[in-house]
Symmetry: C2
Subunit: 591 residues, 2 copies
């Protein structure tokens, strides 16, 4: 089946004299999650993971993917001619090295320029010189007979009672920034940026309430390129009222080709695809820059923060009910990871204004939790037992906010290592959550706060510490990032971030403790301006695995205060055994 | 006097049609400290501080300097036509802004290209376009009648028992790096780089045992451009043995002009001056890069580390004797800051292989310590009293290493704030000194470890946390830096750095606790490779100002362990009241 597809692709390659064909995991807007229509890499390789790149030559077919997917990819590729190249493993050829080795100078390398970002294209161009890049080859479409349709979900308005500021005000802010930069046209391609900018939402991609579209802001016009079938009358009225002109999605390229010469067009090369950039009138001056909207969107306003508090309260109620259900059910041997995941969804569905999960729930029991991005295999369900640790990372999309939370709970007896690692992860969490920092500090600087307590024990986690979180939008949102990889973005007042250190012991257990927090000003004095975090998440942190001796007095106080706050905020919304569970879970820990 | 000089300069400017003349604080090698010959900015302005830039126009004369020198500069400029522009103060015009404002497009801006780095020249060129830069104007020399002579101090060999590796081996290492980069010629201009590379030292600049010189490494030759009068027979023999060709200092430009075309010449634009770069044959390909030698020099070898341990032991003996003398003398009212400084020098002079201080001692009593770079005014001596805090930041040049240490001691009764701020500074020091970190972490990341405890109290210090330290070389050495300003340089095993947090309360008191440490590997495990610090400095940390309740058990243990180690290492070298002082100073602190 896969080999047959390879044969078809190779025939198309031969017809066009293409030596190597690249298939990326991406859509025209470089979205993190893909609509089925854009799962071309999965179609051609059979590999279902969320990240990877395929290169097909006349006699080789390679899939590159990262450590999260080595086992899964090997399994899914077996039986086909595909070979797995493990990214990050020393000695593995990079895609560029491979292409330089396999394609002779002058040879042609093809790909679908509709799904390759302008940034990636430029990088390829720089690194593969003497090879020709052919960017208009949608070979996959030619051979994908039963390709899923593009989504047709309706657009809806995200009301001002949630957004706090109107589309008009947001467009104004963008224009102010455009003026500073001397820009006449600003092309927005990232779908969450467009949804934020126009205060609209859609349902084109699972977990992300966005709409396939483009936006262009001119000095006195705002345009919205979208499948017009998705716009019902109320939305058209709304757009009219806000002077947002709507046009067919495909019209974007004509529009770009007609921008008057000598104008200045700004766009983010990381989110605009090659073909779209190439459609711009060649006399237009292109300004490549980070996204203006992303920077505005990242700083939440007061209404958004207040909505988020409510969303996290509802999410907390769902989580407490869920964990009570888990702990009650586990001893019966009937609770599988997958069932737990479903139950959690049903608990969230009971909450008002819940739309869908914000990402695929990670319900990881025991050694499965050692894989930070674990996904259960429905074919061989894992049942929870009254021992060890159970890690659940999940989130919800509510009209009043996007949630994301990880709790790791004890289902019974724990080993000393499990307790120790749990306590260290908690120390790491507290170290960052309770820290103050100077205005201007980057997420890289803050990352150090989280890892300091783990480093003392010569331990670490191989993922970032925190990401930005959207507001009823993508659960992963930039530009900020709390990570051991430097990024020149300060963590600003009003930003929402996750704090999620972990510890993972291969084949044994895994722990992650994640809260979402927003950044607020703490004090301005002779030493400068100090910022700190206010935690939004309201779900008790399990105290049973804690080795109290490893906590300082300050840390213990933080833990007790946090759980006490959870009790105060949640108890009004819980009854019966759920309330009893909450009481038990938030009991003060004493030495 | 100053105004007369200004008149003379303006006459020279008028003759050449120069609209603005820049005088920088620098020598041809961009040394941190200047030989008297190069103190041109001091000559023209009367301002004696270590940092500042002068711009003279037809009717204005401006000095820019930073916050350390606002008071001193205002005082020293008074009575002249010079105006002070305070760098870092909002609303102050930058030098570039000033030049753009005062010099019309097409106007000429002059300076001495012999003392302006190529890097600064390029920056001026970029920011001042439409203005002409004239870089060959040594106007100061024309009017400086009694200009001091260039130093004539002899060069001497830094023996292999100190350096551990020979000049030959170091040159070889440089050539390996040159080959990787495809470089034929490497021009070394930083004086400490040259001293390190050829294992020689000199005495051309106070505090820095370096020689005015250039080095060039070719694929099969090594050249040393130096005032040949400085080379006695033993040094000439040494250079011959190591196949290092020596030539007159001024020959460098002829040499550079004769490099064959199409060769590749690498240099560090931050340390090579404009005129030297311009003398290179214009057909040579220039590669601008960080200094190769600096990166090699920064990682100390085993011999160097062992020598350093001995140097710091001797330095510790001197410091304990000094502090005993201070505390004994203070109640008599006869100990001034300046006298203390002199006494400290005499204590160091008693130690073997001591050469000179490694920088000007900062002996700051009481409120004076609130100025991190305080220098006493000999005209109005400050006498120590048996109360408050006394901060002493000092260092020595020994054949077996460069030392740098700050201790702040209680001379008697302290205020609650003094105690609290001392304890917080100590917590900050311990937080970094006791930390482990992952291989690859930068100094910016580590800076977070030091400031975390201060941020908790919404306090901070407005200087870096640590700098590299040379080995019988400059006390400030790159490329590493532990600072809240990001620099993409990992802190590597073998690097030597200072750890020197502080707290400064204007008009009241100042505290800094500084140790020098080297970086060593702690453990390599499944989580990665962990590095940590081993402290070289051996001087007790005063425990009298410590508020024990503010220290965690771990911190208290660290303090007691450190002082115990000081006792163990120093007690054999002290007798009588010095030994008693040490015993008292290293007594265990208990809750």
């Amino acid at each position: 089946m896969i080999n047959q597809k390879l044969m078809q692709i190779r025939k198309l390659m031969a017809n066009r004299g293409i030596s190597a064909f690249i298939v990326t995991t991406s859509d025209p807007h470089q979205s993190e999650y893909l609509a089925d229509y854009y799962k071309t890499r999965e179609f051609i390789s059979g590999f279902t993971g969320s990240a990877g790149t395929v290169v097909i030559t006349r006699d080789e077919a390679i899939l590159w993917t990262d450590g999260r997917y080595f086992i899964q990819a090997a399994y899914e590729l077996s039986g086909s001619d595909f070979e797995l190249y493990k990214m990050g493993v020393p000695g593995t050829m990079s895609i560029t090295e491979f292409l330089l080795d396999r394609v002779q100078p002058g040879g042609k390398i093809g790909f679908d320029g509709n799904c390759v970002s302008y940034k990636l294209y430029r990088e390829l161009l720089e690194n593969l010189d003497d090879r020709m890049l052919i960017g208009n080859l949608d070979f996959i479409d030619s051979i994908w007979k039963d390709r899923p349709a593009l989504p047709k979900e309706k657009v809806f308005i995200h009301e001002i009672k949630y957004t706090g500021t109107s589309a008009g005000r947001r467009i104004e802010k963008v224009r102010e920034e455009m003026e500073t930069k001397g820009v006449d046209y600003y092309l927005v391609s990232a779908l969450d940026d467009i949804a934020y900018l126009y205060c609209i939402r859609g349902n084109d991609i699972s977990y992300n309430p966005v709409v396939f579209s483009y936006a262009v802001i001119e000095k006195d016009r705002a345009l919205f390129f979208v499948d017009l079938d998705k716009l019902e009358d109320d939305v058209r009225d709304y757009l009219d009222e806000n002077s947002i002109e709507y046009r067919e999605y495909d019209e974007i390229r004509n529009y770009l080709s007609e921008i008057p010469g000598k104008s200045c067009l700004l766009f983010d090369p990381a989110t605009v695809n090659l073909n779209t950039v190439e459609s711009v009138n060649s006399n237009v001056k292109l300004i490549k820059s980070g996204s203006i909207v992303q920077n505005i969107k990242a700083v939440k306003n007061e209404t958004e923060i207040n909505c988020l508090k409510n969303a996290y309260l509802k999410d907390g109620v769902a989580l407490v009910k869920f964990f009570n259900w888990v702990e009650t059910g586990t001893p019966t041997g009937t609770v599988s990871e997958v069932l737990a995941s479903k139950k959690l969804l049903s608990m969230r569905e009971q909450q008002s204004d819940f739309i869908e999960p914000s990402f695929e729930t990670i319900p990881a029991y025991g050694e499965n939790a050692a894989m930070p991005h674990y996904s259960p295999n429905p074919a061989s369900p894992v049942y929870l037992k009254p021992e060890g640790l159970f890690l659940v990372d999940s989130g919800g999309q509510y009209l009043d906010g996007t949630t994301d939370i990880t709790r790791t709970i004890a289902l019974g007896k724990l080993t000393d290592d499990e307790k120790k690692h749990y306590t260290l992860t908690l120390k790491s969490h507290i170290s960052l959550a309770s820290a103050y920092f100077k205005k201007g500090a980057t997420g890289y600087y803050l990352d150090a706060f989280a890892r300091l307590p783990l480093f003392k024990y010569k331990m670490d986690y191989a993922h970032g510490t925190g990401h930005g979180v959207g507001f009823f939008l993508n659960v992963h949102e930039g530009p900020q990032s709390i990570s051991a990889v430097y990024k020149d973005v300060p963590i600003k007042e009003g930003m929402v971030v996750s704090i999620e250190p972990g510890l993972y012991i291969d084949g044994s257990h895994g722990i992650r403790i994640e809260n979402i927090a927003y950044v607020k000003s703490i004090e301005k004095n002779d030493f400068g301006e100090f910022l700190g975090f206010e935690i939004l998440s309201i779900v008790p942190i399990d105290t049973r695995p804690v080795i109290v001796e490893l906590l300082s007095d300050e840390e213990l106080k933080w833990l007790n205060d946090y759980n006490k706050k959870c009790y105060e905020l949640l108890s009004d919304y819980l009854t019966g055994s759920d309330l009893m569970y909450l009481e038990e879970a938030t009991k003060e820990v004493i030495r």
